[in-house]
Symmetry: C2
Subunit: 348 residues, 2 copies
Amino acid sequence: MAAATTPRSPSLTDVASLAGVSHQTVSRVVNRRPNVSDATRRKVHAAILELDYRPNAAARSLATGRTHSIGVLAGELSQYGPSSVLMGVQDAARRAGYFLTVVTLKDYSAPTVDEALSDLLDHGVEGVIALTPHVSALEVLATMQSGIPMLTVGGGGHRGGDVALDQESAAASAVEHLVSLGHRRIAHLAGPADWVDAQRRLAGWRSALARHGLEEGLLLHGDWSARSGYDAGLGVELGRLPTAFFVGNDQMALGLLKALRQRGCEVPGRVSVIGFDDVPEAEYYEPSLTTLRQEFHDLGRRCIDELLGLQALGAAGSLQPRLIVRASTGPVRADDDGGGPERVPMQG
Amino acid sequence: MAAATTPRSPSLTDVASLAGVSHQTVSRVVNRRPNVSDATRRKVHAAILELDYRPNAAARSLATGRTHSIGVLAGELSQYGPSSVLMGVQDAARRAGYFLTVVTLKDYSAPTVDEALSDLLDHGVEGVIALTPHVSALEVLATMQSGIPMLTVGGGGHRGGDVALDQESAAASAVEHLVSLGHRRIAHLAGPADWVDAQRRLAGWRSALARHGLEEGLLLHGDWSARSGYDAGLGVELGRLPTAFFVGNDQMALGLLKALRQRGCEVPGRVSVIGFDDVPEAEYYEPSLTTLRQEFHDLGRRCIDELLGLQALGAAGSLQPRLIVRASTGPVRADDDGGGPERVPMQG
DNA sequence: GCTGCAGGGTCTTCCCGGCGT
DNA sequence: CACGCCGGGAAGACCCTGCAG
């Protein structure tokens, strides 16, 4: 008569007694193991349904040592790139039977990163994916050994696993595109210097320039935001204006486009602009933005594949951004193909 | 002498014996309970550090019945709104000692939503936040009783908890703004009819129009994407073009702006456009977009507050989007203030 | 071929016994 | 005697996995 005042959620034994079998049999049914007759299986299923039984995850992972959860360390998730990768990771993880526990970082300082990773480990994650292509965060992560598989995304691939798109060659192909249009003075509006992505793209710009015997031109830095692109665009001395800009991401390109327009500088008539990422809105910028498409979703999927050992590390055909040519790039003006720093008459 | 071949991770008793105390005491220290001297506390902490001991989360939650994890059901996270809310939720959750387990939905069909919620419950979450302001998803959720607190975001607040911004009155204030500029034929480019947000904004548009004795004008539907806004903009018969568009979100507004520009229709000279959300890029659209800012981050925080019972439901001062006036809205043209469907000469 | 018993995994909590000041 | 501190023991939370029957 022990009237349960607290309606405890049903356990394995409850199901067992209702179905008239032992709890082990129930366990076998739940875990889809052989050696259970169809008749018993059905009985058990009926009991499970009737009680709305759910195996207790805690007890289960205590017994098996598995938690089926993967930790994700992320920076700013409200940006298109990271959140798209997260979507890809989530899809693949769930398909593989894993859950994602997401922790975001306020900043990339050592204590913050350290605490976040530690929390994740306390929670019992079986692996960690670090969506933080930021040098200081990566340094911290490299010094911490967690005892579980860890993977960085776009981390330059120095230590441990790393999954990345080949941004350097993608950046180079952006420059190639501009060169093929006759441009010789090609500036770069880069992301923050302490972001790995920014570094790779910068490196690609440099190497492509060198390959064509062009001297390195104007180099500016923004913070990925449209505002910073705008500010950069307003700040350039008109006399030093290049004939083309390779911009580190689409948002900054948007800001730059606005600044150029305000200064009466036509795109692509006077200056060509090429972005990076291909956010869904890029096609509707003014003018439509030529850019490099990154397949973030695939990148996310690949993270899980690699973390789970579903495929060899650095598998065949590393993902390659693709050039999407739209209206913001065009041939260099006939009177402006000289490489020299000649005076450029123009009014603001 | 027992050479552990499998380097099992240290347990409570390991710490106890190393520190020379009982497991009781270790437990007390770990859980910050009183009745432990500072000296022993320090000894225990030293042992914990030395062994790099982490309490086993599974065992712990088996014993306490707490998992400290909250489930998040999300749709498309690569969009600015949802992902920003997620950031806010995450911040607040972690501050309160909770982890987030995120599950994304491929679609909003009953089986998909059902399975996702079920998975979350299997995982042992203590509460669920549904970031799916989609009618069919909400219907499914309403019929499922999970036995744990569940909260919808922007779900119209019909059943169970719901946290939302007052989108209807925000939409109305967008219309007010246009009316104050002299507009009388105000169209609406709405989101998909099965999204609650779209419905609220549509309702706000309607009621504000009625309040001013204006007849309901052109109503179009998009899918939130810039592309759909563009297509909508190209599809309008020139003769039926209103003097102002209230658009359901900024992305669609971006597409619409491009279409209008292509058709030689100046903004705001000929048509005013107002968006919704205030994505960070909106200021850099062409022209800068007048829009309604939503504080997604605060909304996320509020979800946790409410789920954890940290504050009364529907607390004072429900969050209110704020009108941000930029360059895409302006006074109606002098020759176009009549409400009638007069012919509008213009070339595509 | 199918089923059940016993043991184990880690932590919490309650009980109660001590010791020392 | 009281009170702060600590230990030993044991029950319990729920499930899994050999190994018998």
